[in-house]
Symmetry: C2
Subunit: 342 residues, 2 copies
């Protein structure tokens, strides 16, 4: 089936909602290990490829020149909650490059969590662009532009050398050229190119293993991988899948979500990359898909199993915290994963 139901949401004894999607597991040679749904389709990877977008920052030596630490490199790969630690780290990154919040071209929005919204309200402040979930990535772009002597203004344009370089990285990692007609604007104003889902999975097999890369690039991948798994809080924040799963897995897995139901991951011990898309863009769908895939793919510790279950099978609660139903992977999705991976 081209668009199988992968996740169900129940209430009482009935299925109330259904999410459909596709999932690819691919190794660094491009061999497809698992294909569910349509893995040839082009999907906008959105924030799921922030680690690839941060590669030029490391590979160029700019990160080293400015002594960016693991927390700052993880922030460059992040979609953060806009918690105090994220905002302050983004500010420091810009400071290290002699830049400020004024230079960010990502736009702004309120923090994800009510606590952080309330803190701003109490301080009678509105959020600036440092609060944008993409501010770390943008601070990385700006840092790179400054160190390499490129113009910092207009760094979000698809014609800016940084975005051109990132486009090349994506084409090489996915083994799939992109063109103007598959280019969209991301929420933070940078270009996003739609790549085949199986190419995105291949890209994260390569990112996690370095296989087939020139030594400098392989080293840059390793540096970013280590930064994210060492500082998972900087990649997302309180309660988030990417943070909690990377923290529990202690380096076994790199995982990064993107808007509109995209999720990518690297599993170096198996040499696999995972890329998935929930057709309708729902985060509860993409998270349940990724958690279920990791559950079936890996031998797990009790702690690892526990954190995945929170996302593979969360309860649906009433406003009085009584369980009314649950999110769960569909039987056919689990069977397809087992057949390919178990």
């Amino acid at each position: 089936m081209t668009h199988p139901v992968t996740v169900e949401v129940t209430r009482g004894d009935l299925v109330e909602c259904r999410h459909r999607g596709s999932l690819a597991v691919v190794d660094s040679a491009g061999e497809v290990i698992c294909a569910i749904g349509d893995i040839e389709q082009r999907v906008f990877p959105r924030s799921a490829i922030k680690a690839l977008q941060a590669l030029p920052l490391v590979e160029s030596g700019a990160a080293e020149a400015l002594e960016l630490d693991d927390a700052e490199l993880a922030l460059a790969c992040s979609s953060h909650n806009g918690e105090a630690v994220h905002v302050s780290a983004a500010r420091v990154m810009l400071l290290k490059a002699g830049l400020s919040e004024e230079d960010l071209e990502c736009g702004t929005h309120w923090p994800k969590r009510l606590e952080d919204v309330a803190a701003l309200v109490r301080a009678d402040e509105a959020p600036g662009p440092l609060y944008n979930n993409c501010s770390g990535k943008h601070a990385g772009f700006l840092t790179l532009a400054k160190v390499l002597g490129m113009p910092t203004r207009g760094y979000v344009s698809k014609d800016h050398p940084i975005q051109q370089e990132i486009r090349k990285v994506i084409e090489e990692f996915t083994c799939a050229p992109v063109s103007e007609d598959v280019c969209g604007i991301d929420g933070c104003s940078i270009p996003t190119y739609a790549s085949p889902l199986k190419g995105l999975a291949r890209a994260f097999a390569v990112f996690g293993t370095g296989e087939g890369l020139e030594p400098d690039r392989a080293e840059a991948c390793e540096k970013l991988y280590e930064a994210c798994v060492n500082e998972p809080f900087m990649v997302a924040g309180t309660g988030r899948f990417c943070t909690d799963v990377m923290a529990a897995f202690r380096g076994r897995v790199f995982a990064k979500t993107g808007a509109e139901g995209v999720f990518c991951a690297s599993v170096p011990e198996l040499g696999y990359g995972i890329a998935l898309k929930c057709d309708d863009g729902a985060t509860r769908g993409s998270e349940a898909m990724m958690a279920t895939c990791l559950e079936i793919m890996l031998d797990l510790s009790v702690e690892e199993r526990k954190v995945l279950a929170r996302f593979a099978n969360p309860a649906v609660l009433t406003r009085k915290d009584v369980k009314a139903g649950e999110v769960r992977p569909s039987h056919e999705f689990v069977e397809a994963l087992r057949a390919a991976l178990a």
Copy 2:
């Protein structure tokens, strides 16, 4: 096709997300005017049937005994934003019955809009159950219980006479019995029974016309219909579909959304009821479906057309308010509606 794509979300030149769903248009005799997808499926109507849940309040004479006005009756049918006017009207309804916020069993959550969250934070308050989007409906239940001398405590239980009476109303309006095995708990703790989608459409044809009802019940339907279209702000609030569409349509249409992608409407001038479900539960999907159906079904004024377009075809914006894509009805959905309705 059983689960057709009804709504697409684009970015650049590509479709980034797809929502699937089903839609039924039925008249009060139960004749199916338009069937898209699976209209026999049982769906939890959730908050989309609040007007039916409010019928016993009016039919019993309790609303009249306590001199509930149109704004209060509309609030009894509402899923409100928790704006100041909603909270204060719910408080007054309870006061009229000699009750208070303490009697509400719906649980609580923060208001929908940032402005209202900020007002609470500034006042150093947390939201009580009056802020729950269902507080008006619950105030209606409590008012009814008090006037009829029933116990107020436990009014959310499926065994309470009010919930039993509502179950009978739903079975009669949908022409479809419900049973324990299709009963779920709604987010506000009351029972929600899954009914066939075409039955829900029939129910709103009857609600909008009174056709086939005993005079007292027909009068109660008319009273609630008029209350909602006269006081649409009380049914939802700032920027919301139900409020803005009912305000623009000045009595031509009654529309009420529910959680997880359900939407019901009455169009008395045609004698039709509409019920739809977006499979994945997305509000952007259910709103685009309802707006598109009304666009195709009715001759529209400029103002009516304008408000529907906001929901049938909203822009997807970047954080800098640049248009990156759009939500739009699928070609096949539009063609199916036109074939049945135009």
